[in-house]
Symmetry: C2
Subunit: 394 residues, 2 copies
């Protein structure tokens, strides 16, 4: 007889890392809904509704807008593997861990990849990108909007126009921005954008909403050779999500239920209100973290509200502190990735979790944890600074 593990009883957590964030309770409830078939007329209607809400969140009219049936990085792969063919030129802008990932994925398509880098925590100057576009004339330029490894917020409002001067398609990693900060696909002329379900949209991880402009779809439709991936081949998936609703793969029903409910929550709040909420809670958290002596890793002019990466103070044990936060307070924050491993902590205030109670609790807990690790922290200073921000009129 095999050993059968016991009932599922995880400890309660407050997920303030780089994602997943806590799913909204309404989303968890939606997932208990019994299944429909993936070709049931009622499910097809739920797909339509979900697609229309993704369009609203992306601020786009793009027909080709739907969730890839896999997690966020699958969206990155979908964008690159559909737009690039062997021998094509691509420029990837890397300012952190996820830019590096994009370089790896673009390389696997057989494209010739040119890499642009700035130090971690910085963002790209559009003039530098212009020079590279002029020189390389790539089919695709890839860039991360919200770099989750550093907390840096890349300005991309003018980048689409710039790329189109050179007949280049702009691929944007919006995994950590959608639902937290504005992403205006049509106004900014973005060509292929991907995000995830488990951050700004307040759902569990498992889906990657993407959108492709008609300009990008023209490239997909005129490929010379088949896409290297079958599962991510838009020319095939579009038979299911794109119109005919013909079978491609079996849609992940419960995750679509979850995403639909998460999007309803987002739109009920309204995008502007949601973005303002993220900014306000960020200001409070930042005031608190700085009051207890922590400094941000990203360029202050380009700090993401939803992802606060701060330097671990000298002499403080990274892992021990995060363990104490988890075990004593049920709070998860993120460690550093790549170059920032052991150097930074990442505190996410995303979607459902961007709220005063998260801010005040994580500050109070961090004060205690840092103090018990030997830092010179005056109890209550961080919390008081955050409360000061909340006391200000909006």
């Amino acid at each position: 007889m095999p050993t059968i593990p016991g009932q599922l009883t995880p400890s309660p957590r407050l997920l303030l890392g780089p994602g997943p964030s806590d799913a909204h309770p309404r989303v968890l409830t939606a997932m208990t809904t019994p299944l429909l078939g993936h070709l049931d007329p009622q499910f097809l209607e739920l797909m339509n509704e979900t697609q229309e809400m993704i369009r609203t969140v992306y601020q786009t009219k793009n027909k080709m807008t739907f969730p890839i049936s896999a997690t966020g990085t699958a969206g990155m792969e979908t964008c690159l593997v559909n737009l690039l063919e062997p021998g094509d030129k691509a420029v990837i802008c890397a300012k952190g861990y996820f830019g590096n990932r994009m370089i790896d994925i673009a390389g696997r398509t057989g494209a010739e990849v040119t890499t642009l880098t700035v130090p971690w925590g910085q963002v790209f100057d559009l003039n530098v990108i212009r020079e590279t576009l002029q020189k390389v004339r790539p089919r695709v330029l890839g860039i991360v909007h919200a770099e989750t490894s550093t907390g840096a917020h890349q300005p991309i409002e003018e980048l689409g126009k710039l790329c189109h001067e050179f007949n280049t398609l702009l691929v944007v990693d919006a995994v950590t921005s959608v639902g937290c900060t504005p992403v205006e696909v049509d106004a900014w002329e973005l060509d292929a954008v991907f995000t995830c379900s488990q951050k700004g949209l307040g759902c569990p991880p498992g889906l990657s909403p993407i959108t492709f402009s008609e300009r990008a779809m023209d490239v997909v439709r005129n490929r010379k050779i088949k896409c290297r991936s079958w599962y991510f081949d838009l020319s095939l998936i579009s038979t299911y999500w794109g119109g005919d609703r013909a079978y491609h793969h079996t849609g992940p029903i419960s995750m679509v239920y979850a995403l639909r409910e998460g999007l309803r929550v987002v739109l009920e709040e309204g995008l502007e209100t949601r973005f303002a909420r993220h900014v306000r809670n960020h200001h409070a958290l930042k005031a608190g973290l700085e009051a207890i002596g922590l400094t941000y890793t990203a360029d202050p002019a380009h700090q993401l509200p939803q992802l606060n990466a701060v330097r671990i103070p000298a002499g403080i044990d990274d892992v021990a502190c995060r363990k104490k936060l988890l075990n004593d307070f049920g709070i998860e924050i993120g460690g550093g990735l790549g170059d920032f491993k052991g150097v930074a902590w990442r505190i996410g205030l995303m979607g459902y979790n961007s709220k005063p109670s998260s801010v005040l609790l994580v500050l109070a807990a961090m004060e205690q944890v840092l103090k018990s690790a030997g830092a010179a922290i005056e109890p209550g200073r961080g919390v008081a600074a955050a409360e000061g921000v909340y006391a200000q009129k909006v």
Copy 2:
């Protein structure tokens, strides 16, 4: 203001198509559990438990056993894209829609694909496969165990040994067999096997449990060039699911909760009992379907118990009948795929849904639907035949 769709209120369904089948109620409940982080020590333990239960279901000791974070076909792609490099030789055995899919996916790896076919509904003779192995000497042979488009059950008990005589790896599509009929990975010497969550395992669609033998992992470890997919690259995913638990992608937490609960249900029942249950309910359904004049598409000696594909009687409107089943009785059965579109209906009795109440209800409903479509059906004959089977001692 965007239009926000209403609350999620799908009609209740009994999913008796080729999958998804209904998820077990305990599985739906497990998905409401609040999230853990994908690197939380408690989640890592749930991963261990889930992997160990997948090993039990696959009857294997393979270390590299875990769920791919996407649906069943992603498992097919994972197996082929990791084992094949450009110029490698592959033999794919196609006896239906999913064998054809394997040919397409294998071709995208850059491998030289040799195709073996038999008419839809038939299975392969191992002597024919032997001749081809002898001639081609491929790196990989791919075959579908339970062909969902035809209901044919390919014998594979001796196929692994045969492949290994020629130093060929055996890749098996067990999407529709795992949890319904025996799949003995170690005893049958299968090298790379994939399945899905939404059939025999009684979960929603969204995960693809796979297992790789050490023989297969040796090939993965000794690749000359990078895997064409980043998301499905086992050399990368194995850092997360394989041992170090280092970040690769964000694990789909709620779906892993679901799979863990689904596997607990499977193991509490016991594999032998579960397989016997599928056979018994199949016998009852078959007796009923034949009593109302329907005939199976698959070779009778190789009929799957969990997937009953029958010919649509002459003069009967395929779509209208399935629509009536859905709207009047809440029952979904599957239409035909590919060559069998408009030719066959596919009735699944999988996992949680393989039970007498499904059998009796679908027979009663089909009697009514066929009668109202003009077939010469005597009401109650199908149900009576099924009841006759259930009345027999086991």
